[in-house]
């Protein structure tokens, strides 16, 4: 390959894998300037081609697939690389553009983490609420439940049963428990994924 932008393959599937990968990398480098982006793309192209050449058996598609699998998916390492490049830009003599993107990235991450914490906190409270309501239904079967107000607004909690129409009855116990447990498991999974994302 002489031109860094062109595909070195003859098979269409291999060409698609190559250009798809490079497109993904390019997309993740959006906050970098043109020179930094070209630098990352050139280094990854050189790496993939070398890896492809070393895998000397199989057709183009299987060889480039194997080379990509060894290198890893772009989202697993390119964001960290981009962050490093942005930090390069925070050195003396850096461009305003680099500093702007670095600050924006950090600010966005902070906002995302804050919003996620609020949502997860609310989710856990909701899960706990469903659990408590399911348990309380056993002790206060008349006043605890899912009710509809005279104007048709649903309400889960402790009410004066004369004014509200109950919807679920004793079904609140299994439904409440299943909802609480499902919500808990879902939130645990989300938190684990989120934490591992920021540990990388």
């Amino acid at each position: 390959m002489t031109n860094a932008e062109s595909s070195p393959f003859t098979q269409k599937q291999a060409q698609m894998l190559w250009s798809g990968y490079m497109h993904q990398v390019g997309g993740l480098c959006g906050s970098l300037d043109r020179r930094q982006k070209a630098d990352i793309l050139a280094e990854l192209k050189a790496h993939l081609l070398e890896s492809y050449i070393q895998l000397d058996s199989g057709d183009e598609e299987s060889r480039i697939s194997a080379a990509i699998a060894k290198l890893g998916q772009p989202e697993d390492f390119v964001p960290l690389w981009v962050e490093e490049r942005l930090l390069d830009g925070a050195q003396p003599g850096s461009t305003t553009r680099n500093l702007y993107f670095l600050l924006r990235r950090n600010a966005l991450r902070g906002v995302q983490q804050f919003a996620f914490s609020i949502l997860v906190g609310f989710g856990y409270m909701l899960s706990f609420y469903f659990f408590i309501m399911a348990v309380m239904k056993i002790f206060f079967p008349v006043n605890v439940g899912l009710y509809l107000s005279p104007t048709g607004i649903p309400f889960l909690g402790y009410v004066d049963a004369n004014e509200f129409r109950e919807v679920l009855g004793y079904w609140l116990i299994p439904i409440g428990l299943v909802t609480a447990i499902s919500l808990q498991l879902l939130l645990n999974g989300l938190v684990k994924r989120w934490v591992s994302r920021f540990r990388r």
Binding site: M1, A4, D39, I40, A42, E43, L44, K45, A46, H47, L49, E50, S51, I53, Q54, K70, L71, G72, Q73, P74, D76, F77, V78, L80, W81, E83, E84, R85, L87, D88, Q91
Partner: protein, 116 residues
């Protein structure tokens, strides 16, 4: 402790150890000769006996360049794409010597505790 838990604990410790020694290993490799990304990663993968995604080494190399313990230059090749060659800098060599001394002392201490 169950065997599965032990295995998980060991894998976790192994991963942390590998991460910790990666900079040291990169410096050891580059101290022997300058290298381009693919060659360096292939050599590291063999020595560390790991199947880590090769791409994960590039952010580390970038950080090492920024810390000025490693330098690089792009070279046009007669055939194929240009290669980015990495070299260890003087301060990188100094850091490597200190790391090496520390590694030796840890090794000696471990050997001592094992013999006790």
């Amino acid at each position: 402790m169950q065997n599965d838990d032990l295995e998980k604990q060991f894998e976790k410790w192994q991963l942390q150890l590998r991460k910790g020694v990666l900079i040291y290993m990169v410096l050891v490799e580059l101290d022997q000769d300058e290298m381009y990304g693919y060659a360096l990663i292939s050599s590291l993968a063999k020595k560390l006996e790991t199947d880590m995604a090769e791409g994960t080494i590039y952010p580390l190399l970038n950080r090492m360049v920024r810390s000025e313990i490693v330098t690089f230059d792009w070279r046009i090749m007669e055939s194929g794409p240009a290669r980015k060659y990495y070299q260890i800098s003087d301060s990188g060599r100094e850091l490597l010597n200190r790391m090496h001394d520390y590694w030796q002392s840890v090794n000696i201490s471990l050997q001592g505790s094992k013999d006790d």
